[in-house]
Amino acid sequence: MNISLTINGEKITRDIATNLLLADFLRDNLRLTGTHVGCDTTQCGCCIIHLNNKAVKSCTMLAVQADGAQITTIEGLAGANGALHPVQEAFREHHGLQCGFCTPGMVMMGADIVRRLPGADEATIRHQLEGNICRCTGYQGIVEAIMDASSQAKGI
């Protein structure tokens, strides 16, 4: 089936199988390998992207369902001039990543939290991260980074 969509500002048209998952379409067909797949049960959140400005687990929808959508992946989050998104910058500042595997999903989720809930407190952020698993950091740097970016967004 033919689908057309915009990914990181670029219009893309492809003929794809109807059973292809969006995560596999991004990774295997388009070789946008920044989006990761860490489980097969929609639990880990490594595959989170922004679909029409909302955080979505790309392992849990079909690529054909994204026909016509605007998608941003981790590769497209930084500014065109290469400047890091405030959430990316905060992850670096607060040591919010170690092995880096969960990181793209965490950052995309973090950016979504900051957009929806500027000024969110620690407990809110921890609960918002229910669908993202990290095995390295104990979440400490991740929560600190999102709190920091979230207060900046509110101008605190």
Binding site: R27, D28, L32, T33, G34, T35, H36, V37, G38, C39, D40, T41, Q43, C44, C46, T73, I74, E75, L77, A78, L84, Q88, F91, R92, E93, H95, L97, Q98, C99, G100, F101, C102, T103, P104, V107, E122, A123, I125, R126, H127, L129, E130, N132, I133, C134, R135, C136, T137, G138, Y139, Q140, G141, I142, V143
Partner: protein, 780 residues
Amino acid sequence: MGQYGIGQPVRRKEDVRLLTGKGRYTDDIHFDGQLWAAFFRSPHAHAKIKSIDSAAALSVAGVRHVFTGEDMRKGGMKPLVADINFTDRKGNKMYKPVRHILPSDRACYVGEPLVMVLADSAEAARAGAELIEIDFETLPNITSTAKAAEPDAYVLHPEHGSNIAVHWENSAPDEVDALIAQAPHKVKIHLVNNRLIVAPMEPRCAVATYDAKEDVITLYSPTQGVRPAQAGFAGLLGIDKKKLRVISLDVGGGFGIRSKRYPETAAVAWAAKHINQPVKWRGDRSETFVSDHHGRDQVNDAVMGLDKNGRVIALRLETIVNVGAYSGDNGPRLPIDGGGRIIPCGYDIEKFYFSVKPVYTNTVPTDTYRGAGRPEANYIMERLMDAAAEECGLTRDEIRRRNLIPLSKMPYRTQMNFVYDSGDFIGTMDKTLELADWKGFASRRKETEKRGKLRGIGLASFVEQAGGRPTEEMRVKFDENGKATVFSGTFSHGQGHETVYAQMVNDYLGVPFDQIDFVQGDTDTTPPGGVGTFGSRSSMMGGVAIKRSCGQIIMKGKKIAAHLLQADPAAVTFENGLFRVGVSSISIQDVARAASDPAKLPEGVTPGLDESNLFEREPDLNNFPNGCHICEVEVDPELGTIEIVKYTALDDCGVVLNPLIVHGQVYGGVAQGIGQALTEDAIYDAESGQLLAGSFMDYGMPRAHHLSMIEAHFTDDQPCKTNDLGVKGAGEAGACGAPPAFVSAVCDALTPYGVKHIDMPLTPERVWTAIQQAKAHKAA
């Protein structure tokens, strides 16, 4: 020491790449013409294989090959025999079953890979694997750790006649038993150290290519060090290790289980050569649950005798460790001369009997997982000390103060023949009590109780041992433009080596931080003596080798600088990147440029500024990170739920090279320790032998909301005395401190009900049940 020098919280070089989706993990690579592998796995815990029929699988469109283990054996694949040997006190050797890569006669655990299918696409390979027909004759099974050691247990490997691989003992028990029998105070504990799924976030993956002309297989796979993987897999494949190149790209977490000789990885490498075509296997998470080694899984029984002052007289400890269906290279070793050799940890105990029985069961093999025996050892000692405090009528800190090894006894030779070089265990505990406001707990408890909840506080004083294998090689090389590159024998899979090693080179050689490159993870470039990263060893082994490489560079640089400046080499000094003689100076970059031109070198000096150092330490000169962790919890007695409200950690990691990164190691270790104690449990069904916790839906990975902010501190007044840097390992301390501190806190909260102990994980159901049972007991 500048902004980027040793000791600074330098932000990581790795981060921009990993934050912008430019990380490169094994699953990100593909080769033209690659076939995809899928495995048919045993659905049974234990079954005889009567026949294997591949016809239906081969009829699937896109399926190209089906290989059994028998095919692989005919094609040179060797069986996997663990590199591990122990004997009992009578001299009987440990029994090691032969493990065939994809066995064709018998399946010994659920998920054991039995047949490999290769196809044009991953989907076709999976569809083919589903159509493999095996005629199984199911056999009885045994999965329980405790039951496997019983004399009438079902025996998994009948040729041995028992599930117990070896009954290892440190001594005869008689003297200890006699002392305990006469002791005025006795405590007895029984602990289950729960089996864990390690679950690094990147599922396992392997890609292999074959160069027929050179007869070289190139294997891409996540490891914790390419050299051990090269030697291990070349051995299985029956080839010279020069004929196997191993490359590890970015690796999504390791925690001990990465560098192991897994059957799937061996099969992928074998197939690429056999069919002369690239082969890729992408393990999914469910496969990873039944194919990556598991962690922990011990049952411990301990009895301790104390005198009337609460001083330990003697300790008797018996451990059963479940090593799974076959012995991994470390499974049975962990309690004996692996991490568990640290026991009795920080305590000055003169008389000690220790028995270990590794048992085979129909489960996934267990092996190293963060701490690798030390968390288990410290958990035993800390639960014993809590029990002893109550028995002797002392507080939990006082019983420890009376039994911890005092600073005055350092260096201290342990029962298991380590020598602790440094560590102020009592001082560290006392400082932690202050940091955590131990004294102010009573008022915090009152406040909690007003809200209808219970509050508890617990502490753990722990010691661990770091270092792993005693050799490591690092190389520092300048190019003709004066840029430095570190070729690393260790392997960073999240620990930030690119950053920390650059800090060191920046500090020692004055090279700007951004002019230092980093290369790791390829047997074509990794120093020949490279080992890898596990056992919290990279700073103490790789770091020392870097320091010494830099020293060699300065020595050579002085000769070249002297020649260029027409001076006596003995008169040349080196500081901040400059070689100086009197008022003349030359930068290390200029010396490096000159070093590439033989015409500019003094006689007898070889071109290049490129030095390697193979650092070798005495095998037993590990270092001994230690610390004290204090955890405070609130328990809802109606629901059995636990909230961590405060967590204070004081760690003695010796000299800290980068506090940002070392704190990160502590946070991660604590989270894994809390995971073990609060949510994680790899449960097997006792009847069917099925792994019930088989995905992230069923297995309790700790999430952000299970944890609270950890207040982490370092004590820096006890540098390690046995390495050049004064460093101690930092990677595994958190996993040692967290489980006992947490369990102690919860049991403290449940004091009103008289609950003394709950086995991990302390799920709401277990806590609630313990409360109900205690209430019923009181009523009766």
